[in-house]
């Protein structure tokens, strides 16, 4: 494990405040993460868990009602929260890039593909139009789009969904960023194309030495793509660590439930296992652990106070009172899994 992570987030909190200042939603609550160069970090959670807000916070593109309440984000040693707007603009697209979920909505319908792919190159690297467009053509080739020259001149509505998402990917890597954040990039794609796209992302990652933050609710993708995993619930990271280890021995009941709910071929159950209850309403969180109302192993302490983060094992963290009842319980979990 390198001592200089590419991105280190410490105790980050992002709050949405209502117009009159009366309601505070803690969309991201005391989140700490790290990712090294070339690594892939998966962030998993239900909708409303805070994953997208986290991504927007990293890029400092929050809507006006949101503010970062505390924490710091060190990217290549510099705190992103301390940067001015102008400095952040130079970071976005150039050093940290992001691809969004819906490629049809992400591309401007009025402009050509070439224009939109060449644009960040021209802005960040000051190259002329011809040079930028030839770079764009190379990028389209890199994301495996056939006849790139023709495609450059076309408009978004003339392409299929899969192709549009590749173009969005091409835009993402156009200025050779160190970190690429992908917010549910395969959710709007057909299953058949998803696998191709994921392979493409992995290839690009290896070719460019990119670190990748992959935000998804799909654990299958996590298993395939990610080295590290962070599980989010109600704005907090409830478990994090190497993917393999978490899958073998999840420490948090929520992670356990998520893993259980994946249907397997070897299953002979009649019903799908779902997690009881509803995702929490962030405006009215219960006083204790946010997962307590739905947790099969919850006990009194869970309902009284929210658990603090515990580090154990090989770079693993968990927020759960079960784990805290002496680190014996956590280690016994790990031992149970390894056995």
């Amino acid at each position: 494990m390198s001592t200089h992570p590419l991105l280190q987030i410490d105790n980050l909190s992002t709050h949405y405040v209502s117009a009159r200042g009366t309601r505070v939603v803690r969309a991201v609550d005391d989140v700490s993460l790290r990712i090294d160069a070339g690594e892939t970090l998966g962030i998993v959670g239900e909708s409303g868990s805070g994953k997208s807000t986290l991504a927007l916070t990293i890029l400092r593109l929050l809507p006006p009602a949101a503010r970062v309440a505390s924490g710091r984000m060190l990217f290549e040693g510099e705190d992103l929260l301390e940067k001015s707007d102008a400095e952040m603009r130079r970071v976005r697209g150039k050093r940290i890039a992001m691809i969004l979920q819906d490629p049809m909505a992400s591309l401007n319908p009025l402009f050509s593909i070439g224009d939109q792919v060449a644009e960040p190159i021209r802005v960040h690297e000051g190259v002329g139009r011809a040079a930028a467009w030839s770079r764009a053509r190379e990028l389209l080739k890199a994301v495996r789009i056939p006849s790139p020259q023709t495609r450059l001149l076309q408009h978004p509505h003339e392409m299929s969904g899969g192709m549009r998402q590749r173009i969005v990917g091409a835009i993402g890597i156009s200025c050779e960023p160190r970190l690429l954040i992908a917010d549910e990039p395969t959710t709007s794609l057909d299953l058949t194309i998803q696998a191709q796209y994921l392979n493409l992302l992995r290839e690009l990652q290896r070719a460019h030495g990119l670190a990748l933050i992959f935000i998804t609710h799909n654990l299958g993708i996590v298993a395939k793509m990610c080295d590290q995993l962070a599980v989010m619930y109600a704005g907090r990271v409830v478990e994090s660590g190497p993917v393999r280890q978490i899958f073998n021995a999840p420490a948090h009941p929520y992670t356990q439930a998520l893993l259980n709910s994946i249907p397997r071929m070897s299953d002979n159950r009649n019903r799908l296992a779902a997690i009881d209850g509803q995702p929490p309403d962030l405006v009215a969180l219960p006083p204790g652990c946010a997962f307590a109302p739905r947790c099969p192993s919850a006990f009194d302490r869970c309902r009284e106070a929210p658990p603090s983060q515990l580090t154990f094992g090989d770079q693993r963290t968990v927020r759960c009172w079960l784990a805290d009842a002496g680190s014996d319980a956590a280690d016994s979990q790990v031992r149970k899994g390894a056995a």
Binding site: L59, L61, R89, R90, V91, R92, G93, K94, A97, M98, L100, D102, A105, S106, L107, N108, P109, L110, F111, E119, P120, V123, H124, H157, V168, I171
Partner: protein, 306 residues
């Protein structure tokens, strides 16, 4: 697409039918057509002739038929005052109204669009609130009063601009301002809301994620997309402007069809009044149809519909 166009065409024809029927019925049912369609001071022979042609003695559908028949031939009646076919009169005055409307439209867009964009980009702050005030004033100040005050100021007090008539660009300034005033506020409001919607869209988010400077995001990406609904409305408003310019044209003695209407009511020249209203309605229906067809050609979703 062909089916869509045919449907819209049928629609318009129904509207035109209803329009002519409405006007026809109003004249026949609520007024005595003979007094309206006959010149004051006409001889008994003339009155009898009119009565025979349009008279209440005939069954109503026959009357309607002869009404429509003459319309189809372009015969909208004869002006008592000018003693020429009204249709000719109308066509001769139409270019003036068009000129005035174009000038007023230019003014309303030049003021409305930038202020709308400014209000959207600075939403909630000073320029937005100034925009709201402007919008309110636009709605509440009648255009003819704006015209009168302008004359008072620029013609009577400052003596910079001529107070009436047409002929030079100077004559055009005040009427265009008075006519365009209301529409400037309307266009500002639409630009603002359209811009706000565009600014909240995903591709603007991506443009920001690319690290583009804010000026590029707004001027290149947001602007064009936001402008589409505004320009559509402007097209429709142009025709509306031509038709509602009655009072402004009267205030400034601008020789357009609005003033023609005023002359019609002042001189009790009913054929003129009827024709102006009828032709105005036809114009609006026709332009709406044209715009819908234009949309069909441009918007690929409609084009591909069988």
């Amino acid at each position: 697409m062909a089916r869509y166009i045919l449907r819209r065409l049928a629609y318009s024809l129904v509207s035109l039918f209803l329009l002519s029927l409405t006007i026809f019925l109003f004249v026949r049912v609520t007024g005595d057509p003979t007094t309206l369609l006959v010149e004051p001071g006409a001889s008994q022979a003339d009155i009898d002739a009119i009565r025979e042609r349009f008279g209440p003695d005939q069954p109503i559908w026959v009357q309607y038929w002869s009404f429509m028949a003459s319309l189809a031939q372009g015969d909208f009646g004869q002006s008592f005052y000018y003693r020429t076919p009204v249709f000719e009169l109308y066509l001769s005055r139409l270019p003036n109204s068009l000129l005035l409307a174009l000038a007023a439209m230019a003014f309303s867009l030049l003021i409305g669009i930038p202020s709308g964009i400014l209000a959207a980009v600075r939403v909630g702050r000073f320029w937005d609130r100034a925009g709201k005030v402007f919008s309110l004033l636009g709605l509440s100040l009648p255009s003819f009063w704006v015209g009168l005050v302008l004359i008072l100021f620029f013609s009577v007090y400052l003596e910079w601009l001529p107070s009436s008539g047409s002929g030079t660009a100077l004559h055009l300034i005040m009427p265009a301002f008075a006519l365009g005033w209301y529409f400037a506020a309307a266009h500002m409001r639409l630009t603002r809301s359209s811009m706000l919607e565009v600014l909240g869209s995903e591709y603007i988010k991506l443009a920001r994620l690319k690290g583009l400077p804010e000026s590029l995001v707004i001027c290149k990406h947001a602007f064009k997309n936001a402008l589409i609904p505004v320009l559509t409305l402007a097209g429709i408003n142009l025709v509306i402007m031509i038709n509602v310019a009655v009072v402004v044209e009267t205030v400034f003695a601008w020789p357009g069809i609005g003033r023609l209407l005023y002359e019609g009511i002042t001189f009790r020249d009913f054929p003129v009044v009827q024709a102006v209203v009828l032709l105005g309605g036809i114009m609006i229906v026709a332009v709406n149809l044209l715009i819908d067809i234009l949309y069909a050609v441009i918007d690929p979703r409609i084009r591909l519909e069988r």
